[in-house]
Amino acid sequence: MKRLILAAMFMGTLLGFLSSQALAVELTGAGATFPYPLYSKMFSEYYKETGVKINYQAIGSGGGIRQLMAKTVDFGASDAFVDDKGLKKFSSPILHVPITAGAVVITYNLPGVPKLKLTGEVIADIFLGKITNWSDPKIKKLNPGVNLPDLKIIVVHRSDGSGTTFIFSDYLSKVSEEWRSKVGRGKSLNWPTGLGGKGNPGVAGLVKQLPGSIGYVELIYALSNNMPYAKVQNKAGNFIDPSIQSVSLAADTKLPDDMRVSLTNTSAEYGYPISGFTWILVYKDLKEGGLTKEKARALVKLLWWMVHDGQKYTEKLHYAPLSQEAKRKAEKIIKSITYEGKPLL
C-alpha cells in the first residue's frame, strides 16, 4: 500500500513536471558566431525575466541560413544579409531584424606600436600585394612624424569563411575598383597574397608572431585582447578610431526599410567605415516557418525585447547598440511579422 502511494506520488510529480515543461515555450535558433557572446547574455537575461528558454547554436551564418531554410530552427542569425538570389530560395519571404553592429579593425605588428592612419585605398593596395613595404611613400604620406621601418609587409587574412571577411572585402570593393574586379566580396576569397589564420585568434596569433604583419579582426576581439589598430579614413574624409560609438554612428544614415544594408564606407560624418549590422532572420509569416502560435508570439516578443531592453547589454560586451534610426526601422519590421496573415503585435 505504501508503495502504491509512493508510486502515485511519483507519477503525480512526473506528470506535473511534464505539463509545466509543456507550458514553457522554448525557442531554437542557429547562426552567426560573431554575436554569440551578446546573444547568450541576452537570452539568459530574458530567461530570468520571462521564463522563455532560447537555445542558440553558433554554427556560423551560412549554417543558420540553411537551417532556417530547412525550417529546423525558429530563427536564424547572420552577419551578412541574404542577397536577392538567396531570398528566392526560401519557400516563403523572410525578414532581417538588426540586433547590433560590429566592426572590423586593421591590426598590425610594428616596432614601437605606433598609431597608424590608413585610407581605404592604401589598405586595398596592401592586401592586393601592391604595397609591400612599410616605408612605402603612400603610407608615409598618411603618417607624418611616425617612424616607419624598412620592413616587408606580411598580409594576414582569415582562412575560414566568415562574416568578418565579408564586411572587410565589401568595404574594399567599394573603395577600390581594382579590388572589386580582381578579388570581389565574399566570406571566402581568392586572396592575392598573404597567410591565412583560422578565426580571430588565428589571425591575431600570426600577427603577434610576425613582425611587419598586418591583418584584420573583429573590433570586440581587438578590444578585449588589447591589440593595436589603425584609424581609417571614412567617406567624409575624417580619420576615425574604431570604437563602439563610431560603429553606432556608422548607422546614422539613411537606411532602407528592409534593413538589408551594408554599412561599409558609410556616408555618416563620424562613422567608422568598416562596420556592419548583424541580423536575426525570421519568416515574415511564422506559420509558414513551421512555428506554433505560442512560439510565434514568444519569438516576436523576444525580438521586440532585443532591440529595446536588450540593447543595454551591448556596450558592456563591446558591441555597438543600434542607432535611433536603426531601432525605428527594426520596430517596423518586427510589427510586420504575421501569423496566418494576422499581425502578432
Binding site: 582562412s159 575560414d160 571566402s188 576569397l189 581568392n190 589564420g197 608572431q209 610576425l210
Partner: protein, 308 residues
C-alpha cells in the same frame, strides 16, 4: 560460461553444452551484423559524399582536378594546390618521422625490452599520441614558428614562419608514436629462437637487427607507417594553424600552402552557395578516394613483405 571452455571439447549432450552452442551462435550473429554494419556505413558515406558533389562534378568536370585557382567569389574551383599540399606535408612528415620512430622502436623492442627506461620512454611516446591536435597547433605557433622564422631569415626566404615545413614538422611529431609503438610490438614478436640463433653464430646486435629482425618485421612496420601516413593525410586542426592557408601552388617547402582537409574545415561552415558547398564536398570525395588508394597500395605492399 565455464562449459565448453577452451581446450576441452564442448559437452554436446549436457544442458550447459547446448547453452554454450546457442551463445556461440548469437555471438557469431552479432559479429556478422557488426561487420556488415560498418561495411554498409562506408558504402553509405561514399554514396552521400558522391551525391553531394554531383553538382560540382557536373559543373566543372575534370577541370576541378587540374585547376589551380580556388575562387569562391567568382565560383572557380580547382583542387590541385590542395592535393599538392596534402601530399607534400604527409610525405615530408613521414620522411622526418621515420628515423626517429624506427630507432625508438628498435631501442624499446631490442635493446631495452623492459625496465624503467622502457616504461618511461614507452609511456611518454604513448602520451604524445593522446595530445589533442589543437594543442600541437598552439605549440607549433608559439614555439616552432619563431624558430623557423630565424632559419628562414638566415637562408633568405620570406620569413613567414608558417608553411609546409612547419606543418610537416609538427605532423612528424604527431605520427611518431603511431609508427613507433606498432613497430615496437611487431619487433617484440620476432621469435626468440631466431634471435638467439643469430647471436650464437657470432652476429653483433646490429647484424641481428639488419639480417633477422628487420626482414621479419618488414610488413608489420610498413603497416605502422601506413597508419601514421593516414593520420598525417587527414589531420586538420594542427595543419590549419601552421600551414599558412594560402591557396597557391607551393613553390618550396617554406611557402605557405593549404591541404584538402584544412580547406574543408575552413570554408564548410560558411559556404552559402550551392556550388561552393558542392565543391567542398567534392574535395572530401577525393580525400576519400585518395586515402582508399593509399591504403590499398599499402596493404598490397604489406602482403608482399609478409613472412611465409
Amino acid at each position: 560460461m565455464e562449459s565448453g571452455g577452451e581446450g576441452s571439447p564442448p559437452l554436446l549432450h549436457s544442458r550447459e553444452g547446448m547453452k554454450g552452442m546457442k551463445q556461440d551462435k548469437v555471438f557469431k550473429t552479432i559479429l556478422w551484423l557488426g561487420g556488415i554494419f560498418f561495411f554498409l556505413l562506408l558504402v553509405l558515406m561514399f554514396i552521400l559524399i558522391f551525391k553531394g558533389s554531383l553538382l560540382s562534378i557536373n559543373t566543372f568536370g575534370w577541370k576541378f582536378v587540374t585547376g589551380k585557382v580556388w575562387d569562391p567569389v567568382s565560383e572557380k574551383f580547382g583542387l590541385l594546390p590542395f592535393v599538392l599540399g596534402t601530399i607534400l606535408t604527409s610525405f615530408i612528415s613521414l620522411f622526418i618521422s621515420l628515423p626517429f620512430s624506427l630507432s625508438l622502436a628498435l631501442f624499446l623492442g631490442v635493446y631495452y625490452k623492459e625496465g624503467f627506461l622502457n616504461k618511461f620512454l614507452g609511456t611518454t611516446t604513448d602520451l604524445l599520441a593522446g595530445i589533442p591536435s589543437v594543442i600541437y597547433g598552439f605549440w607549433g605557433l608559439y614555439f616552432l614558428v619563431p624558430l623557423i622564422r630565424k632559419l628562414e631569415m638566415k637562408i633568405g626566404v620570406p620569413p613567414y614562419g608558417v608553411g609546409i615545413l612547419t606543418a610537416s614538422l609538427v605532423l612528424a611529431i604527431m605520427i611518431t608514436p603511431f609508427i613507433s609503438s606498432i613497430s615496437k610490438e611487431v619487433i617484440k614478436m620476432v621469435p626468440q629462437d631466431l634471435i638467439e640463433a643469430g647471436f650464437s653464430l657470432g652476429a653483433t646486435t646490429w647484424e641481428v637487427i639488419k639480417k633477422i629482425i628487420l626482414p621479419y618485421c618488414c610488413s608489420g612496420i610498413f603497416a605502422g607507417i601506413l597508419l601514421g601516413f593516414g593520420r598525417a593525410f587527414g589531420e586538420t586542426m594542427a595543419v590549419t594553424m601552421l600551414i599558412g592557408n594560402s591557396n597557391f601552388m607551393p613553390k618550396s617547402i617554406f611557402s605557405p600552402a593549404n591541404t584538402m582537409a584544412s580547406v574543408i574545415a575552413n570554408e564548410f561552415t560558411e559556404a552559402t552557395r550551392d556550388v561552393h558547398l558542392s565543391a567542398l564536398i567534392q574535395i572530401g570525395l577525393w580525400l576519400f578516394i585518395l586515402s582508399v588508394v593509399v591504403n590499398l597500395i599499402g596493404s598490397f605492399i604489406v602482403r608482399r613483405f609478409e613472412v611465409k
